[in-house]
């Protein structure tokens, strides 16, 4: 395969401690190497160079994403672009079609995206869409917290058997890590109810807190690359910050052999709320950031708001119902037997609304108040707080206090009383931006060991060259540069040039296959088989995702600790 040399770039590669150095990047056969002989030369001419972006949490593929597309033709019509010689047709803004997702991420310099919620029973669907998403390497997190198997093992205190079940689900779904979404609450939504962290889930006699702790322990027994990935209870409720902090405490004592957190909580903006109702609603970003600053076992992504119309979607069925009750807009729900659920409803984030204004501030506050950028990731929980295409706006806000002040002036005046944003002076450096968009995310997912998120020798030849000088301070120019790269290189191949997609190779799908003791698996299978015989609507043999669904596999093997 051809060699590539990127010269005269100013490189930001946080996992290797490279802080804006003039440095050549050599790529051969898709991987970063020390030197090349006869390369194609790309002259970066002093521009900013980073590893390909790694998104830790985004809803890009599967049943609820597609239900969002299907029931929002008005969103589909927003992003129409005709096919070209290279690209297929595009549609959508908050729920783009699969092709547009690949192209738009690649244009922003991203080369890996984690689909954040895969219902195990519908895993084939998630994979079908990921295969149809060009360019991006991908993986998906199967939902494991409202599963009857999980709750029964947690109830019995059988963490080893729980680990065996988690391992089986990873393999059966070709999944990457353990996703937890409103543990207990989604099962209760099967009856139209919800619950909080320490409530008991009837029939199963467990609390959400016990589920989270149990899965946290099982995850570390399996030595998974990623920690448990948690959407905590009571998303979007005023006053929920206490529950969020309590959730972090649950796994404080859980040990890991991995060099990473034992819990990642996602879209933390939605979980950092003070007040008792929407009237006295306020930001508690300082409380959450304070906790993260004082502890090392938890990381977060921000789930920052992008103003405008979007499509919210989550496995947290009761939460979507609440949101629909507030807006009165259309609402889709899809409960999944023995496992999970989902809800979808459109939502408009308006700078005129006091509540939306505070929400808008909180995500950015979290990023600014958490001192160590290795503990925080940039997300919008696409498309829940806004579409991923808004990332460049967030980057420009983090890098420019001036930009934030100008934007704040356009928001509801409540921002000056109930939010903290106007009082924060910190500005992110490009190095810190590189951390929260690739270094930290790759490390938190354990993917840095598999060539993602950095440019050291042996890493994937995934590179973003942004059309800006490292000295740039103009927020508008920064935003523009991060929206359309000068070059995006994926596995040594130029996929974007001057903001246009020029090649569309297939991405790889990363999945984890944890091995555990046969006896343990056999014992677990007795219970699982009974679930299929009596309660599932598909058979056990038809459940696992067949190899045909993952044509470009990247398997990561792990072994359960005794």
């Amino acid at each position: 395969m051809a060699e590539v040399l990127i010269k005269n770039g100013v490189v930001y590669d946080p996992l290797n401690g490279v802080k804006g150095e003039k440095k050549d990047i050599c790529i051969r056969d898709g991987k970063v190497v020390a030197e090349v002989k006869n390369p194609k030369v790309i002259d970066a001419e002093g521009r900013v160079v980073m590893p390909g972006g790694v998104d830790i949490h985004s809803h890009i593929a599967g049943g609820k994403v597609n239900s969002g597309r299907l029931f929002r033709p008005e969103d589909g019509r927003k992003g129409l672009e005709a096919k070209t010689k290279v690209c297929r047709m595009q549609s959508g803004y908050s729920v783009p079609n699969t092709f547009a997702i690949g192209y738009r991420y690649a244009k922003m310099g991203y080369t890996f995206v984690m689909e954040a919620a895969m219902p195990p029973l519908a895993a084939r669907h998630t994979h079908e869409e990921m295969v149809d998403t060009p360019i991006l390497d991908n993986a998906a997190l199967p939902l494991l917290d409202n599963n009857w198997m999980t709750m029964e093992y947690v109830n019995g205190g059988d963490i080893d058997l729980l680990a065996a079940y988690v391992a089986w689900i990873m393999k059966a779904t070709k999944g990457f890590g353990v996703k937890i979404v409103n543990p207990g609450g989604t099962e209760m939504w099967g009856w139209g109810k919800n619950c909080s962290l320490n409530d008991t889930v009837p029939t199963f006699n467990v609390t959400p807190a016990e589920i989270i702790k149990g899965l946290g322990e099982a995850n570390e027994k399996l030595e998974m690359p990623h920690s448990i990935h948690v959407h905590t209870n009571m998303l979007g409720h005023p006053g929920n910050f206490e529950i969020t902090k309590e959730t972090y405490d649950l796994v404080k004592g859980v040990n890991t052999v991995k060099d990473r957190q034992v819990m990642h909580t996602t879209h933390t903006q939605f979980h950092s709320y003070g007040g008792t109702n929407w009237g006295d609603f306020e930001s508690k970003a300082d409380e959450i950031a304070g906790y993260i600053n004082q502890n090392d076992h938890a990381t977060i992504d921000i789930g920052s708001v992008i103003l405008g119309d979007t499509t919210t979607m989550t496995a947290d069925g009761p939460m979507e119902y609440n949101l629909y009750q507030i807006t009165g807009r259309k609402w889709t729900n899809h409960d999944v037997e023995l496992e999970t659920g989902s809800g979808i409803t459109p939502f408009l984030y308006s700078g005129k609304s006091p509540v939306n204004t505070i929400q808008w501030a909180i995500g950015v506050e979290l990023a600014l108040l958490v001192e160590d950028p290795w503990k925080i990731a940039l997300t919008t929980d696409h498309p829940n707080a806004g579409p991923f295409i808004g990332y460049p706006i967030l980057i420009s806000m983090l890098m420019s206090k001036k930009r934030r002040d100008e934007s704040s002036a356009d928001m509801h005046k409540v921002i000056y009383d109930k939010a903290l944003l106007p009082s924060i002076d910190r500005e992110y450096s490009l190095y810190e931006i590189a951390i929260i968009t690739r270094g930290m995310t790759a490390k938190a997912l354990g993917l840095h060991e598999h060539g993602k998120g950095h440019l050291g020798v042996g890493a994937d030849g995934d590179v973003a060259i942004y059309d800006m000088s490292p000295e740039e301070t103009d927020a508008g120019k920064i935003q523009k540069a991060f929206l359309n790269t000068k070059y995006t290189i994926k596995g040594g191949q130029i996929v974007v040039k001057d903001g246009e997609v020029v090649a569309t190779p297939d991405g790889k799908t990363y999945f984890v296959t944890p091995e555990c003791d046969d006896k343990l698996t056999d014992e677990m299978m007795v219970k699982l088989k009974d679930k299929f015989d009596r309660y599932y609507s598909v058979t056990l043999n038809n459940y696992p995702v067949q190899d045909a669904y993952v044509p470009n596999p990247y398997e990561i093997k792990t072994q359960m600790r005794g």
């Binding site: 049943g63 699969t98 037997e337 598909v538 058979t539």
Partner: protein
């Protein structure tokens, strides 16, 4: 002889996946368990199209696949307004090639939803759909409503596997502990099983749904003594039954999507579900007909952004059902060539549409002959998905299941035929542009 278990039926939207068959000498010789009678006969195989053929002087003449591919590609490449129609009785892998072919041609791609649950899709786009998987119904539902649907005849295993007759976690006693409400204009095999049969007047679904909605929202006072042929007393009782449910599940069929107020019926049915949801858990699910009609809607949506009636003339997707569905296009005599796959517009379209379709060149891909074959100009026999070919399908509740291949086929799969047509179309276009 080998016994194959976990066989998946590729006939109706139930997509039963627990069928056991016997295979001997590359033939399915026996269906031992799991399938209903129509499912059984599909698995056992029947009358096939024997050879690819091209119509010459009014007669279909056998030809090779190469010749048929060439002819089909020529027709499509020369067409100014091609229509690609069907897609619901084949697998998603084929559907994907179909979308790509439509994109290459600048064609209109439409699927059978536009003549079955198209109105349901429109309703979902209006108000959304509070639904669930069929296993949720099996494990939880104690009140089941079939509205304008006759599962006992059209989805024979539906009640047994998923709803009224099934037994699940909280429904161990089966139908003894459940209530079945059936709403229909006439008595059927399904209505005979019902605890409550609301026999309504033809076309009055909207009114009856409105009345139930009003009662569920606490406005029984505005409901007259009789609505659409149903007494207020019966409506009140039904509403009470719904409110008293631990988990209610409504299924609706073509009897309500294609009569009277059409999509507005479905909007109203969904709104009724929301009204019931203010008292207890309630869900609603369309009874999709063909085994993968849900799947083509899925594929078409994630690839084009829209579920059916998509025009790709402009290079991007333009969605406008009512203008761009197959029947609309044909009635306006706009389409000048059509590819029909795994469906039978010749039997199911309105007369005026068929008249135009018969006039234009038609390419058919299907394992089985049907009335469309009578006027098709190029015919491709294909392997039977689920018997001779594997692939992904979506059950009526959008659960993806992989069809199994049981025996070898002398015929190519839909996906392969479509890919070869696509390659040939590209070759023709390439030549033309040089």
């Amino acid at each position: 002889m080998v016994e194959v278990t976990d066989v998946v039926c590729s006939l109706c939207g139930c997509v039963c996946d627990d069928i056991t068959v016997e295979v001997e000498d590359n033939k399915v010789t026996k269906v031992k368990r799991g399938a209903c009678s129509v499912g059984k006969s599909k698995l056992m195989g029947h009358n096939r199209i024997k050879s690819p053929a091209i119509r010459v002087n009014g007669e279909l003449k056998d030809c090779s696949y190469d010749e048929a591919i060439k002819k089909a590609a020529e027709i499509l490449a020369a067409s100014r307004r091609p229509l690609l129609y069907g897609w619901s009785s084949t697998v998603c892998e084929a559907d994907k090639v179909g979308v790509e072919l439509a994109e290459e041609l600048g064609a209109v791609i439409d699927n059978t939803a536009s003549v079955c649950h198209g109105p349901s899709v429109l309703a979902i786009q209006d108000v959304g759909l509070p639904s669930c998987t069929l296993g949720e119904v099996k494990n939880r539902a104690d009140v089941i409503i079939y509205w304008g649907a006759n599962p006992a005849e059209a989805h024979a295993n539906h009640m047994k596997r998923y709803s009224y007759v099934s037994k699940g976690f909280w429904t161990e006693e089966g139908k003894k502990a459940k209530k079945l409400v059936v709403v229909d204009v006439r008595a059927t095999k399904t209505t005979k099983m019902a605890d409550v049969f609301l026999q309504i007047e033809q076309g009055k679904d909207y009114l009856v749904l409105s009345a139930l909605r009003a009662i569920l929202y606490g406005h029984a006072d505005v409901v007259p003594d009789e609505v659409g042929g149903v007494s207020k007393k019966d409506l009140l009782e039904t509403a009470e039954m719904m409110k008293g449910a631990k988990f209610g599940a409504t299924f609706f069929g073509m009897g309500v999507t294609h009569t009277g107020a059409r999509q507005n019926n479905i909007v109203n049915a969904i709104q009724m579900t929301r009204a019931a949801h203010t008292h207890t858990k309630f869900t609603i699910t369309p009874m999709r007909g063909h085994y993968n009609v849900a799947g083509i809607n899925q594929v078409c949506t994630w690839e084009t952004g829209f579920p059916f009636a998509v025009d790709l003339t402009r290079g991007y997707a333009w969605y406008n059902p009512g203008e761009l569905s197959a029947t609309d296009l044909l009635i306006r005599q706009e389409c000048d060539a059509a590819l029909v796959i795994a469906s039978d517009p010749g039997a199911h379209f309105p007369g005026e549409s068929i008249k135009h379709l018969a006039k234009v060149p038609v390419i058919q891909i299907d394992p089985f002959p049907n009335p469309t074959t009578e006027f098709a100009d190029v015919v491709f026999p294909a392997a039977v998905s689920g018997v001779e070919a594997e692939g992904n399908v979506y059950r009526m509740d959008n659960i993806p299941i992989r069809l199994r291949k049981l025996i070898d086929s002398e015929y190519p799969e839909d996906e392969e035929i479509l890919k070869r047509i696509l390659d040939e179309v590209r070759a023709i276009k390439e030549k033309e542009s040089n």
